[in-house]
């Protein structure tokens, strides 16, 4: 589980352990405890509460924390409600904006096949790219088409899906789609195209079934590294007759192990820690909001999703049109996913986050902003 972000560079406490000098403690005990010097009561720290601990009376919490520019002048504070990263991520430089990723669906190049079916051709290129996962924190990612997560591929139930995969990275990669298909198209080492060395390409082709919320990811070995480095994305298959119209949002719960110690230092939805705290997701009051929620967190067995002050219908894996559950918190294991449908009846800002407090404070939290126009 993600405990403290441990590191091989952990520093010791500043002064080395005392041996002969450990007596100091005792000295303090003598001074303070026996009143020998009548100073004990005046020793700083004795029964005093740090003012900030009781500073909650300072007005409404200024969420999101004011985005301070990197290298902000000293003395910049936000009245003690300091949770969050400092600064903002340059989404342009990174070539990935979590705000636009939410609603960007790649339907591929479609050609009708008759009978309402279509052939959809996609292209995914794996290559290495540095991404910024928190302000100033650069992660050497392996990406599909330059972003983490890769593009959200979308098709209709029964469509023919053809994915051209090019490995332009520095390690062997491949793509494993979730869905029903032949073994040769499953994208695992040793079967079909297997692992593709850098510079090679292949085609994955299969029918889009079953409808639901699926995913794709690299299945080269070692698996953990290829996934947590960023080779994953969302694959949506719509039911043949579609779903009710709604504002559709893709939320991928992911995390990053920046120091490669097998534990995550940064948690997020859609890669950038606290992004939707600074840039809330805007929705219209009363409209149907459909959330495609996928858990791609590596290392931690589970992740969860919680919306404040609202309840949602759950369609686990999206493979049934009937709701499974009406709740405000849902837990997903690694690779699990669910479609959530919610209508926000009231205006205002509503927080959403993992109901794993640790993940929340390490970046996995955001806001929905409910307005009358939804823009």
């Amino acid at each position: 589980m993600a405990e403290a972000p441990h590191t091989p560079h952990t520093t010791e406490r500043a002064p080395a352990r005392l041996s002969r000098r450990g007596f100091l403690a005792s000295a303090a005990g003598l001074l303070g405890g026996t009143g020998l010097l009548a100073l004990g009561a005046r020793l700083p720290g004795a029964g005093r509460v740090p003012p900030a601990a009781s500073a909650a009376a300072g007005g409404p919490h200024p969420y999101p924390p004011e985005a301070a520019p990197l290298g902000a002048p000293p003395g910049h504070t936000t009245a003690g409600h300091g949770l969050g990263t400092v600064g903002d991520v340059d989404v342009r430089r990174m070539g990935f904006d979590p705000s636009t990723y939410l609603t960007r669906f790649d339907w591929g190049r479609a050609r009708p096949l008759g009978g309402g079916r279509a052939l959809r051709e996609f292209q995914l290129v794996a290559y290495d790219r540095e991404i910024e996962i928190a302000p100033g924190v650069v992660f050497p990612a392996w990406t599909f088409n330059g972003t983490v997560p890769g593009p959200t591929l979308r098709a209709r139930e029964g469509d023919r899906v053809r994915v051209k995969f090019i490995n332009a990275g520095t390690h062997p990669h491949n793509i494993h789609f979730h869905g029903i298909h032949t073994a040769r198209m499953d994208g695992v080492p040793g079967i079909g195209a297997g692992q593709l060395p850098p510079g090679q390409s292949t085609l994955y082709e299969f029918d889009a079934e079953p409808f639901g919320l699926h995913l794709y990811h690299c299945h080269a070995l070692p698996l953990k590294r290829h996934i947590h480095k960023g080779l994953y994305g969302v694959f949506i298959i719509d039911p043949a007759r579609g779903r009710p119209p709604a504002r559709e949002l893709v939320l991928v719960m992911n995390a990053f192990d920046t120091n490669f110690d097998g534990e995550n230092e940064v948690y997020a939805v859609n890669t950038v820690a606290f992004h939707y705290m600074r840039h809330p997701i805007r929705v219209r009051r009363g409209e149907l909001v459909r959330i495609y929620l996928v858990n791609f967190t590596e290392f931690d067995p589970i992740n969860s999703f919680h919306i404040h002050a609202n309840f949602f219908h759950v369609y686990r894996t999206g493979t049934r049109l009937r709701t499974d559950e009406f709740t405000d918190t849902i837990m997903l294991a690694q690779g699990e996913r669910a479609i959530l449908e919610v209508r926000f009846p009231y205006l205002g800002r509503y927080m959403f986050h993992a109901h794993v407090s640790e993940f929340t404070e390490l970046g996995w939290m955001g806001f929905f902003e409910v307005t009358d126009d939804g823009v």
């Binding site: 993600a2 500043a14 302000p135 100033g136």
Partner: protein, 399 residues
């Protein structure tokens, strides 16, 4: 070659010879400077260029706790500049500011200020995340307000220094009349005992210095710093001893050297005391203070032992005690208010060097005074007794 030429030309030896000598001595330096310029200008021809930047090496040297705030002092001991991108407190990203800037140059330092509602008496973990995603952590084991240089703390620290350093030393000095009444053999016994005490202190100081050095940023080469401090002090004091007493060691000079060595040792000790106080490393137990006083009282005995045959004035005795004891107070102040592992390692190393030099002086003093030589059974017993006394009283203060 140069000397051959010089001796072959005795008339021209002085002026052209010395210019030539300078040239011979300096031209390798010119070549080195040239080489440095070439490498800086054209690079190392790609041979040493790695594909990835060197591993970053930040050291958190000190964390100060003020009301609702952490102040983290950090030093970059690595080869390249390091940029602090984010800060975690207790596994949560937290707001902070960095002065003078987020990018810390090689051997540079920065202060990170984190407003945080820390909880008195509990542990907090601070993690710095660099731009490359590496993390450097520091645990505040027991959160407590760091001492401010207020009057109350100044008085507390001063009294701490007096208890630990000044009083025990003066108590030891009170053995002076007793020593004066002894015969030469027994004075030598106590001199040997002093040497034993000092060897123990020297080894202790050296070990502490190396321990403090281990906490330094790697670029400071802590162990080498300790070696330079120890050996440099020894050599310096040997030279000083020769200048002041050309015809054999004078007891009063030896006494002052002992006081100086013990004073430096106590300064380093005070630094660690103040720092531990600041860190809240408080394990209660009043008997430890008493144990420490017993332990340090022997330092006073060591100072006056060389003077038994040639009694100085009262003024000298007081001054000797002050030289040995007062640095403790200074050390506690420094350690309490601005602990620096560099200073701690350095002062402890200086103390170790001074103490070992003093042992050498004591041996010379005894040798010049003794007809039967140093290696008597009584002297050996005294030396061992000194070590044992320190060890046993040291048990009282080991935590």
């Amino acid at each position: 070659m140069a000397s051959e030429r010089a001796s072959a030309l005795p008339a021209a030896r002085h002026r052209p010879g010395s210019a030539r000598l300078w040239l011979l001595g300096l031209y390798p330096l010119f070549l080195i400077a040239l080489l440095v310029l070439l490498v800086l200008r054209f690079g190392p021809l790609g041979v040493f260029e790695a594909a990835f930047p060197p591993v970053e090496d930040l050291t958190i040297t000190r964390v100060r706790l003020t009301p609702g705030q952490f102040q983290v002092h950090v030093t970059n001991g690595g080869a390249d500049p390091v940029t602090i991108a984010q800060v975690l407190v207790d596994e949560a990203y937290w707001e902070h500011t960095v002065t003078p800037g987020r990018t810390i140059p090689r051997l540079g330092s920065a202060t990170i200020t984190i407003p945080y509602p820390w909880v008195e008496g509990e542990a907090h973990e601070i993690v710095l995340v660099t731009a490359t995603g590496l993390t450097f952590s520091h645990t505040v084991d027991v959160a407590a307000l760091s001492p401010q240089p207020t009057r109350a703390f100044l008085v507390t620290f001063t009294l701490l220094g007096v208890y630990v350093g000044v009083l025990p030393v003066f108590l030891g000095v009170l053995w002076f009349p007793f020593l004066r009444a002894l015969g030469r053999r027994w004075i030598h016994f106590f001199l040997a005992l002093t040497a034993g005490l000092l060897v123990f202190l020297g080894v202790d100081a050296l070990a502490e210095a190396l321990e403090a050095a281990a906490a330094l940023p790697t670029a400071y080469h802590g162990t080498a710093l300790v070696a330079v401090g120890t050996l440099g002090t020894m050599m310096l004091l040997v030279a000083v001893g020769r200048l002041t007493a050309r015809r054999g060691p004078r007891p009063l000079v030896v006494a002052y050297l002992i006081a100086l060595g013990i004073g430096l040792h106590n300064l380093g000790e005070g630094l660690a005391i103040g720092a531990a106080f600041t860190l809240g490393e408080v394990a209660l137990g009043a008997f430890l203070v008493i144990g420490f006083m017993l332990h340090n009282t022997t330092e006073g005995l060591g100072i006056v032992a060389p003077l038994a045959r040639t009694p100085p004035g009262m003024g000298h005795l007081v001054l000797l005690g002050l030289v040995a004891g007062v640095p403790t107070i200074l050390g506690v102040w420094l350690g309490g208010f601005t602990y620096s592992p560099v200073l701690a390692a350095l002062f402890l190393a200086l103390g170790a060097g001074a103490i070992f030099q003093v042992v050498y002086e004591i041996a010379r003093l005894m040798a010049s005074d003794a007809a039967e030589g140093l290696a008597t059974a009584l002297n050996a017993a005294g030396f061992v007794a000194g070590l044992v006394i320190m060890y046993v009283t040291g048990l009282l203060v080991a935590v």
